[in-house]
Symmetry: C2
Subunit: 310 residues, 2 copies
């Protein structure tokens, strides 16, 4: 299968590495020059136990993609949320009417962007519990070994093709399954990001430090309540109790989540507009009050300004 | 006039220094051993322009106050909000039925505590725009030279005596005036603390850094709105436009406000429960929604926990 992966960060590189290793024809697309140069020279180098295993595959910048590139069967998008639209615009030459696009980004509302590029029966939404870290350009290490991927086509017409993609991912060791309610999983994961990622970035804390404050439980309940209130209007009935327990199950891990890495550690813009900010925006649309999500979004943006994040 | 000042921090020491210099009989009470020792040895040493001027006066810890101490005519309280009640309990020996208590603390709701110790016609509420910094135990420096004090007795019966106190403060160089609506001034100042102090502590920013974020104006409006909504039920009609302009007039000063000093710089507990937290609490009493104040209070407490503040 001809597969392109847009965004060769920690997760995109991990998926590319597995899929290439399993014999697929994989191409990476990334915007970071040093990463492109490193992968061109040595491939994607994954540290597996004490061994470094390299998988060579082509990598391009979005600007290098032109009509001379063949269209792909599957495009997996793994960009940052705010980069998705620009990336897809650059990749039009390799997106044909037969291309399936699998979206594994964190956050909410990406399907609205994807619909501008492919039909709903070719949009596959997904969520993954794999984790990966980039230790240097072109170098990754796996952060867990019990991850999984759930995917679902937005239109039932695409179910059969999507099940073929499930098999390809599973054959590559990525433990995939077809979901009958992937939007639930996406909202559930957004709750984790909306509580733990956002507040750890704001409070400069790791999950465990935040989780052990006396306020963590009430803050979690308040924020999940707003997500659930809005999700209902989007056709997703979150089981609040189950979601709260899921969020709180992360409170024992001394891990700095990605928004902390972005904002505090690397002074990069956060994805807040696609998480708490998306709930605030969707809440406005449905006339649902989301003061907590609004406030978190404003505070994170204020912090971005203070840290002079571009 | 026999005056005691409870809380010999930057502001209490400043007021004590001025009042003693003007010839009053001033006693300080403080809980910090090193401060007590320094003032016992050298008096309160104020840096005025390039000169250090010491004023000697007695200082005691609250535990040292017993029945052998004479009651005072005026007790000025300048403690941290959360210390007020304990301090007043210790000072019962010097509080007679003729003692006036002048409260110059930041924050809201202190009159409820004071009423447990003196009658309303002996409670004087006040607000000051003087500023002072403590540079070492017993050493202060003045942060502005255009401050003022507004005071008002809670009961009109106490107005005449309060006007005598206005004169004593003014004669000591403290530029005092009798206010006909001191609760307005107290709420107005609480808005400054509720926006700028709280958010600078949360975002680890100075007033100017916070004030120059794109979110500062909307955050200010949202928080002042909640203060105004609740103040109305407490008989105070805040002029929102005027208060917002007042808060935003501080956005050009690269100054770390007191809650930042407490929480971030010195890992001490904050007064949040008496500012945003008080608005949240009073809002619950009057069934007024204050999600922003509730959230700020919870986040500041979470930050206190993360920093292991005792």
């Amino acid at each position: 299968m001809r597969i392109a992966i847009a965004g060769a960060g920690a997760m995109g590189s991990k998926f590319g590495w597995h899929l290439k290793k399993a014999g697929n024809d994989v191409t990476l697309i990334d915007t970071w020059d040093r990463n492109i140069a490193a992968i061109r020279e040595n491939g994607v180098v994954a540290r597996v136990k004490d061994e470094e295993i390299a998988e060579k595959m082509p990598i391009y910048s979005p600007e290098e993609i032109d009509e001379q590139h063949e269209s792909v069967d599957l495009l997996i998008v793994f960009t940052k949320s705010m980069q998705l639209e620009n990336m897809l615009n650059s990749l039009k030459p390799i997106i044909s009417k037969d291309t399936y696009v699998l979206c594994l980004l964190n956050g909410l509302g990406h399907e609205d962007v994807l619909e501008r590029f492919v039909t709903r029966d070719h949009i596959i939404m997904g969520v993954t519990m794999w984790a990966s870290m980039m230790t240097a350009p072109g170098h990754i290490t796996f952060a867990n070994d019990n991850g999984n991927v759930e995917i679902q086509c937005l239109d039932p017409k695409g179910k059969d093709e999507t099940q073929k993609i499930v098999k390809i991912l599973t054959d590559a060791g990525l433990n995939a399954s077809y979901s009958e309610n992937v939007m639930y999983s996406i909202w559930r994961k957004a709750c984790v990001n909306g509580v733990v990622n956002a507040l750890c970035a704001l409070l400069d804390a790791d999950c465990k430090q935040f989780g052990h404050t006396k306020e963590a439980d009430e803050l979690t309940r308040n924020i999940v309540q707003e997500f659930a209130d809005v999700a209902q209007y989007e056709g997703v009935n979150l089981d609040r109790k189950e979601v709260i327990e899921h969020v709180e199950s992360l409170f024992d891990t001394p891990h700095y989540p990605s928004m902390h890495q972005d904002l505090v550690q690397n002074n990069r813009p956060t994805e807040i507009d696609y998480i708490d900010g998306a709930v605030w925006r969707k809440g406005l649309k449905h006339s649902v009050a989301t003061p907590y999500c609004a406030f978190i979004t404003r505070l994170i943006h204020a912090k971005e300004d203070i840290l002079n994040v571009k």
